[in-house]
Symmetry: C2
Subunit: 469 residues, 2 copies
C-alpha cells in the first residue's frame, strides 16, 4: 500500500508533493513498469487526502507520460520509462572529455604572472562599482560597450598612443576572436584575407573557422613584404607593426607608408592593426600606430586587456573607421554587447584612476628583467649551439637561433621528453618553413628564475652527445 | 629661443621630457612645418642640458618623422605633420552615430524589471568571490567555462528540469548569439537550418549573419508542423517546445515525439531546443525537455541567464550531445571562454545558495500578476475590438487578436504617433503573413500599472472613430 509522509511536503501543494513522490518512485524503479497503481479513492484513503488531490497528481503524470490509464481497469506505470538511480553529481561520474597537458616548463605561450595581478586595486574598483552603481549594472548596456569605458579607452589611446579616437567608433567585445567574427560580417563577403607567414597562429585558424578565403604573405626584416602582399591578391591584412609575433620585427616607417598606400589604392582594402603588446618596449619608445598615421580610413585598430591585465577579464576592443562603423550600426545592432557590464565599469575606473598604467609599468619592468635573465642563462649555456638571440628589446619572448642539424620536430620531441614544451619558428609559417628552421621561440613571461635555469639546462642536454645521442 | 622648464619633468629622463615638449610644440603648431630647429649645441646651452640629451630627443623625433635633418644645414620640422589642438575628449565632440528611440510604452520587447534584480544577494556573492577567490580570478578559465558553474548548472537542470547532464558537456558563453556562432562551426557546413514561422526574429538574423542556408517551417496549434519541416529539407531546426515565441504554444507530447523521430531518421539531423523562459509557467507544471526525452543524441539544449537574471550578466550555456562535444573539443579548444570568470564563480554560488530559484519564483509571481493585470485592462477597454487574448498562462507577453480592418502597418503607425511601440504577429512571419494579421503582441514584463493603463487607453483611441478616423 502506497503511503507518503505529507508532513515532509514543506509548503508545496498536496497534489504536487504526491506527484513528485510518485514520479520519484517510478523513476527509481520502486514502482516498476506496468505496475497497477491504486485507484484514486484508495490512494486518497490511505494517505487521508482528497480524491481531487490524487486526481490532479495522476493527471500531471498522465500528461508527462509516466503513467497510462486504461478504460475501466485504472492506472498503470507506463511501459518504457527509463529508471534513473537518485542522481548525485560528483566529478568521478563524468567522462572527462578534455585534459590539458602539464609541463615542467611551457615556453609555447605567454601566461600573465598571476601573482602580479593588482588584486588590491582591482578588488577596490570592483567593490566601488558594486556598491556605487545600481541599475547600470543590470540595464542592457550599449551594444558597443559601456560608454564610460569607451571614453576611458579613447583617453588612454590618446595619452599613450597619440591616437585621436571617438568613443563612438570603439566596439568592446569579449575577446579578439569575438571581435574578429563581428568584423568579418561588415567587411565585404568576397574579401580575401592575408595572414603573415611566419605569424600569429590564431589568425589563420580564425579565417578557417569563418570559412573566408585567405592567403599567406611573406615577411622580411622590415615587416610584411608588400610585393608578396600584392601577389597574394588579398584585400584585408592582419599585421602587428609595433611588434610582430613571433619575429619581433618593428615595421619600418617606410614599410608602414607602403602598407598604407597599398590599402589606399582600392576602396575596400583594410589593414587590421593588432597592437597586442605595444606596451612592452624596453629600449626605444613606442612608434605611432598605423591607425593614427592613416588618412584614408583603412585601418581597423584592435587591442585587448586580456594580455595586459588578465585573460579572465574578457574585454577587448576595436576602433573602426567611420565607414565601417556605419555598417556595423546598420547591420549588427541586434547583437547584444558580450562583455560584463560590471567589469566594464570597473575597468573604466581602473584606467581613470591610473591603476592600469601603473600596472603596465610594473609588468614592463618585470618582463624586461625576466627577459634579460633568460638571455643571460642561455648565453651561459655553453653546450647549447646558439648562433644568435633576438627579441630582448620588447615583448615577452626570445628567439634563439641554433646552429644544429636536429630537425625542429626532433628537437621538440627531445624537449618534451624532458618536460619542456617549446615551439619553433617553423611552426608559425604557412609556407617556406625551410628558411625558418632551427629557431626556438621562448615565451618566458610567467616562468620563475629556477624554472628558467632548470629548463635551459635540460634543453642543453639535448646537445650533449654523452647524454642524448 | 626654445626653452623648457625641466623642473616640470617629474622623474622622466631629460631626453624624454625634451622629446615630449618638442613633439607637443610641433603638433600644436607652435613649431610650424619646415621651421629650422636650433642646433643641438644651442638648444643644450639654452636649457643647460647636455648635447647628448638633445641628440637623443632629436633622434627619437627623426625616427618618428616629426623632424628631418639636412646635411650641413641642420634639423627642420617635417613638412606634412597634421597639427592637432590639445585634445580634451568631451561628448559634444563625438559624432553620435546611433541613437535609440524612446517610447512612452514599448511592448515590442521584454526587459527585466530592473528594480527586482536581487542586488543584495548578487552583491553578496560577488563580494564573496572577490575576497575569497584569488588566482582563480585571473588564471585562464577552462575554455568551456568555469567548472563550478557548469556543475551548478548541471544540478539545477536536474532539480528543475529533470535533465541528466554532465558538466563536461556544458559550454558557457557570453550570450546565445555567441553560442550559436560556435555551434554552427561544429554542425555540418552544408546543413540547412530551419526557423519557425512565426518565430523568434533573431534566429533568421543569426542564420543570415553566418551565411548558412536556411528555410522557414510552418507552425500549427500543436507546435512546429512536421510535414512542412520535412518539405523544407532542413537538417537542423530551432524550437522552443516549452513556450513558443511569439505564439506561446506548448508543443504537444505527440508532436515532440514526431519531432524526435524526424531527427533520428538521419545521422546529422539536430534539434536546437531553446528553453529560454521555461521558468515562467503559471497554471501547469513544466513539461520535460526534448533533451531529456531524446535517446538519439540529436538535441542541443540552449538557455541563458540574461533573461532570468539580467541582460548584463552575459552568461548563457548550451548542452551538447557527446558526439558534438567531441567535435567541439577537437576543433574549438583554441577559443578562450568568453564569459567573465568572476561572474561565473559568483553565479555558481548564487545558484548553489538557492538565490537563483528564489529570484525565479519572485519574478514568476510578479510577471503572472502583471500579465493578469494587463489582461484585465484590455478586457476593460470597451472600444478595443478584441476577439480573443491568449498567452496569459505563461511567459511575459500576451497576444491580442483584434477584429479590425486596419492593416498591421497602419495600426503600428497610429500607435507610434501616440508613443506606444507595438509589434504585430505578422512581423514574426517569414511567409504566409496573411493568416497572422490583426494580432498585437504585448510584452509587458517591465511596464508599470500606470503605463499599462495609459498605453491601452491610447491604443483604444485608435479604434475610436471620433478621435482617429
Amino acid at each position: 500500500m502506497l503511503r507518503y509522509d505529507f508532513e515532509k511536503r514543506t509548503g508545496k501543494p498536496l497534489y504536487e508533493y504526491l506527484y513528485e513522490c510518485l514520479k520519484k518512485d517510478i523513476l527509481s524503479g520502486r514502482l516498476p513498469a506496468k505496475t497497477k497503481l491504486p485507484s484514486k479513492r484508495e490512494l486518497a484513503r490511505n494517505n487521508s487526502i482528497s480524491v481531487k488531490t490524487v486526481m490532479n497528481a495522476y493527471d500531471q503524470l498522465l500528461v508527462e507520460g509516466y503513467i497510462t490509464s486504461r478504460e475501466k481497469s485504472g492506472y498503470f506505470v507506463a511501459k518504457d520509462i527509463e529508471t534513473v538511480p537518485d542522481y548525485q553529481p560528483s566529478f568521478t561520474e563524468y567522462p572527462v572529455l578534455y585534459q590539458e597537458k602539464s609541463w615542467f616548463a611551457d615556453f609555447t605561450s605567454n601566461h600573465m604572472v598571476y601573482e602580479m595581478f593588482p588584486f588590491t586595486q582591482w578588488r577596490k574598483v570592483m567593490r566601488d562599482v558594486l556598491s556605487s552603481y545600481d541599475l547600470e549594472l543590470v540595464q542592457r548596456a550599449h551594444f558597443q560597450g559601456v560608454g564610460e569605458l569607451r571614453e576611458a579607452i579613447a583617453d588612454y589611446l590618446f595619452r599613450v598612443r597619440g591616437m585621436q579616437v571617438s568613443p563612438e567608433c570603439i566596439i568592446i567585445g569579449s575577446g579578439i576572436e569575438y571581435l574578429y567574427s563581428r568584423l568579418m560580417k561588415i567587411l565585404p563577403s568576397d574579401a580575401v584575407y592575408a595572414a603573415e607567414s611566419p605569424g600569429y597562429k590564431k589568425i589563420p585558424l580564425i579565417y578557417r573557422e569563418h570559412g573566408v578565403s585567405w592567403t599567406y604573405t611573406e615577411m622580411d626584416e622590415h615587416g610584411i613584404d608588400i610585393k608578396s602582399l600584392r601577389d597574394s591578391g588579398a584585400d584585408v591584412v592582419h599585421v602587428s607593426p609595433e611588434h610582430h609575433y613571433p619575429l619581433g620585427t618593428i615595421m619600418s616607417a617606410p614599410r608602414r607608408q607602403e602598407l598604407l598606400e597599398w590599402a589606399a589604392e582600392k576602396l575596400e582594402r583594410y589593414i587590421i592593426e593588432d597592437d597586442y603588446d605595444c606596451e612592452f618596449r624596453y629600449h626605444s619608445r613606442m612608434i605611432p600606430t598605423l591607425q593614427s598615421t592613416d588618412k584614408n580610413h583603412r585601418v581597423i585598430y584592435i587591442n585587448t586587456f586580456s594580455k595586459t591585465l588578465s585573460p579572465t577579464i574578457r574585454i577587448s576592443y576595436m576602433v573602426l573607421p567611420e565607414k565601417l562603423m556605419q555598417r556595423y550600426l546598420d547591420r549588427a545592432t541586434f547583437y547584444s554587447n558580450t562583455a560584463s557590464s560590471c567589469e566594464q565599469y570597473a575597468l573604466a575606473n581602473f584606467i581613470r584612476q591610473g591603476y592600469f598604467e601603473r600596472q603596465i609599468s610594473r609588468l614592463k619592468k618585470h618582463y624586461h628583467e625576466r627577459g634579460e635573465l633568460l638571455l643571460g642563462i642561455i648565453q651561459g649555456a655553453e653546450k647549447m649551439p646558439v648562433k644568435k638571440i633576438t627579441g630582448d628589446d620588447s615583448g615577452t619572448h626570445l628567439l634563439v637561433y641554433l646552429d644544429t642539424e636536429l630537425p625542429d620536430t626532433v628537437l621538440k620531441w627531445f624537449a618534451e621528453q624532458m618536460g619542456v614544451h617549446i615551439s619553433c619558428l617553423s611552426e608559425f609559417c604557412g609556407q617556406n618553413e625551410a628558411q625558418y628552421q632551427h629557431v626556438m621561440i621562448m615565451n618566458y613571461s610567467d616562468l620563475s628564475e629556477d624554472v628558467l635555469k632548470e629548463a635551459v639546462a635540460r634543453l642543453e642536454n639535448i646537445f650533449d652527445p654523452e647524454i642524448i645521442l
